[in-house]
């Protein structure tokens, strides 16, 4: 019998994908022979839009590149501008940036663990983790007034301070979160049904990981010790001691363990930062003139290395602003992981890289494919394009 590869499209709408993507799989039996990714369903034309707005307006745009890692984008953005201007951010603001970034990391990893549990059919764990994630979102609401887009960063520092009353509340919530993280680590390491779905699935060798440009926990779960917070320190990370978590097994379970333990590390970092936060102002004045020049800014977002490139032409609007989100860096590695695996493992391997397609697709234009889904509601579409 001649094996003829069957092509299975996965997406753009599929219950396993929280955002639309398209992968074309060629399979033989239940094994995957080839993967072709086709992304771009969430394009919103953000890079072009950056060039049409002023630097201050762009802070809001940068924040909305992604909902879960919004603070990482604004940190990266403001750092790029501050480096261009030669601004030194006040020490207290640096510590606050660290605290917010680490809180975001905890919240993002918690969301991800819930999603992975849901992918493998373990709804109970999903419900528990998302209930505990509410603790972190409540902290955000206390500090900034928002659960998701916290709008804490601005050029020259941060916009809101953390009072001492807030510090006590944060510490209490963190202690609760600490216990829960320990519990989840135990569950993940010992629950047989999870282990059967995650051990030796989605293998990515360290050499491949580096060569294919993988970043973040995906890279660290293959044993490679790269973390932008340590290699290229920013904000106050050079003053705060912490461990970079790596695991050697290169499978989906390693990725789960890396993220769980990173949650634990983040809690430690926040405790340290709260304890050693210096007093002082939280924002410096920005000059009226923006010189010509270019900068590259890098940040360790929850999903991996986030890099922004800025080119300024001396006006109040950027000449060119480029964003490369971590998920785009992980897609070639994802394709390598899927080759030779089972069809039934596609959702969990895909979830294993913590994909955030909104972050990834933000170039050129409003994608026609996305609009095609809404062609049925003609009113909505007409309103959308003619009123702008």
């Amino acid at each position: 019998m001649n094996p003829c590869p069957i092509k299975i499209p996965f997406g753009p709408q599929h219950p396993a994908l929280k955002e639309p993507e398209n992968f074309l799989f060629e399979i033989e039996g239940e094994r995957i022979v080839d993967v072709k990714p086709r992304i771009g369903y969430n394009h919103r034309g953000i890079e072009k839009a950056f060039e049409c707005k002023t630097y201050i307006q762009n802070i809001y745009l940068a924040e909305r590149i992604c909902g879960i890692c919004s603070d990482a984008h604004t940190t990266c953005y403001t750092q790029a501008i501050e480096e261009l201007l030669g601004l030194e951010v006040p020490p207290r603001a640096k510590y606050i940036r660290v605290i917010i970034a680490e809180l975001e990391r905890i919240q993002s990893h918690a969301l991800w663990i819930g999603l992975v549990a849901h992918e493998i059919g373990f709804d109970t764990l999903f419900m528990y983790v998302w209930r505990d994630r509410e603790t972190v979102l409540d902290i955000f609401e206390r500090i900034s007034g928002n659960r998701i887009h916290y709008a804490m960063n601005t050029i020259g520092g941060v916009r809101r301070d953390i009072s001492s009353a807030m510090v006590l509340e944060i510490k209490k919530s963190l202690n609760h979160m600490e216990e829960r993280v320990k519990y989840y680590l135990d569950v993940v390491k010992s629950e047989r049904t999870i282990l059967k779905r995650a051990v030796d699935i989605g293998i990515l060798e360290p050499k491949d990981a580096v060569n294919l440009g993988a970043v973040g926990p995906t890279l660290r779960a293959s044993g490679v010790n790269h973390d932008v917070r340590v290699d290229d320190p920013y904000a106050a990370y050079d003053e705060i001691p912490f461990n970079v978590i790596t695991h050697e097994d290169c499978d989906v379970l390693s990725r789960i363990l890396v993220r769980c333990e990173e949650m634990h590390e983040s809690i430690e970092i926040i405790h340290y930062a709260l304890g050693y936060m210096p007093d002082g102002i939280i924002k410096t004045e920005i000059p009226m003139n923006f010189p010509e020049g270019e900068t590259v800014s890098r940040v360790e977002a929850p999903r991996g290395e986030l890099i922004h490139y800025l080119k300024s032409n001396g006006t109040r609007k950027p000449e060119r602003y480029k964003v490369r989100s971590p998920t785009l860096g992980n897609i070639p590695a994802l394709c390598r992981m899927l080759l030779g695996g089972f069809v039934a493992d596609i959702p969990i391997v895909l979830a294993g890289i913590d994909p955030c397609f909104s972050c990834m697709d933000r170039m050129a234009f409003i994608d026609i494919k996305t609009d095609e889904k809404w062609v049925w509601t003609m009113q909505q579409l007409r309103r959308k394009f003619t009123n702008e």
Binding site: A16, M127, T193
Partner: protein
């Protein structure tokens, strides 16, 4: 002659009342209406218990503590549009929900609910029950096959594969109680348990095997592979909507009733009369406990992959079931 006429009339009258009584028993209690009510009730128990384990509320607002929610869902589905795919086989698609609903319903007549004797009892009705389980899976297969969508086909293939693995261990674990009671009739097995002891105490292995196989039959996690939401939308149920989906859902609930009724009758003593407590009450208490057990198992496991389930069933469950039978033959389970 007048006397003949009177006795004749009395005969007819008596037959009419017995037949009316039988009709009432079939249609109302413990028949169709009662079983439907029980189906809704058990769905509520399952959803509520599952939710509480997950630290959620579950159904809350419709009726006291949400008890009317399953009925509300059923009525809502009845009123929704029935969308059939263009290429689907309409005749088979029409009969699938009816068959899926009718099979557990008729099978439940065999299980004694309100008295020691069920509505239908004959020597060998246990085999009939096994037969209806197989028919149910064939119905599921037809559901996916006639829907002609990619997801439905995959779902029905998986359902059939699943049946191939649990059918034998399940049959073996049902034969265990029959061997103890020396009868292939569920009613007699129940009677035997009321005279001796509950079979779960003398055949615990069979009880465990039977429960696991029922989880697979009901397509509960960890065996909900045929309807794995994150992989193939809703599996074989994908293309059913409106009235057909309503019938499918109540059919699923009736299967839950059947599963818990079988656990109760074959292993937990069935409907017995305890002092002054009528049999129906003991039946309800035991079946609710069985539902909660199934619900708990559903909540604490993740889903298996199809190849893992197949190998697990054949490598572990089948030997265990066989060991139980051997033990019974050696005299340990009578």
């Amino acid at each position: 002659m007048g006397l003949d006429h009177a006795t004749a009339k009395k005969e007819v009258y008596k037959r009419m009342t017995t037949e009316t009584m039988l009709l009432l028993r079939i249609l109302v209690f413990p028949g169709v209406l009662f079983l439907f009510a029980l189906a809704f009730f058990f769905e509520w128990v399952d959803r509520k218990f599952f939710a509480r384990v997950q630290n959620r509320y579950g159904p809350l607002h419709t009726g006291q503590q949400g008890i009317l929610q399953p009925l509300a869902d059923f009525l809502k589905l009845l009123s929704k549009e029935d969308v059939t795919p263009y290429a689907a086989d309409k005749i088979i698609l029409f009969f699938v929900p009816i068959s899926y609903l009718a099979l557990p319903l008729t099978t439940l007549f065999i299980v004694p609910i309100a008295s020691q004797m069920s509505l239908i009892a004959f020597e060998g009705d246990l085999i009939f029950i096994v037969f209806t389980f197989t028919l149910t899976i064939i119905t599921v297969f037809f559901a996916g096959w006639s829907s002609t969508s990619r997801f439905s086909t995959m779902g029905s293939i998986r359902a059939t594969l699943q049946m191939l693995s649990y059918e034998i261990p399940m049959g073996l674990s049902m034969i265990g109680p029959a061997m103890a009671a020396s009868s292939l009739s569920v009613s007699r097995i129940v009677k035997w348990q009321s005279l001796h002891s509950w079979i779960v105490f003398i055949q615990p292995l069979g009880f465990a095997v039977f429960t696991v196989c029922l989880l697979a039959e009901l397509q509960f996690v960890p065996f909900d592979i045929p309807e794995a939401e994150t992989e193939i939308v809703a599996g074989w149920q994908t293309e059913f909507s409106g009235r057909k989906l309503a019938l499918l859902r109540i059919g699923k609930d009736l299967e839950l009733v059947l599963a818990s009724a079988l656990i109760t009758s074959l292993y937990l003593g069935g409907c017995q009369r305890f002092w002054l407590i009528p049999p129906i009450v003991t039946f309800l208490v035991k079946t609710i406990m069985a539902v909660m057990l199934l619900s708990l198992l559903r909540a604490v496991f993740a889903r298996f992959r199809i190849d893992q389930m197949l190998s697990g069933m054949w490598r572990y469950l089948l030997p265990l079931a066989t060991i139980q039978i051997i033990l019974i033959q050696l005299g340990l389970g009578r």
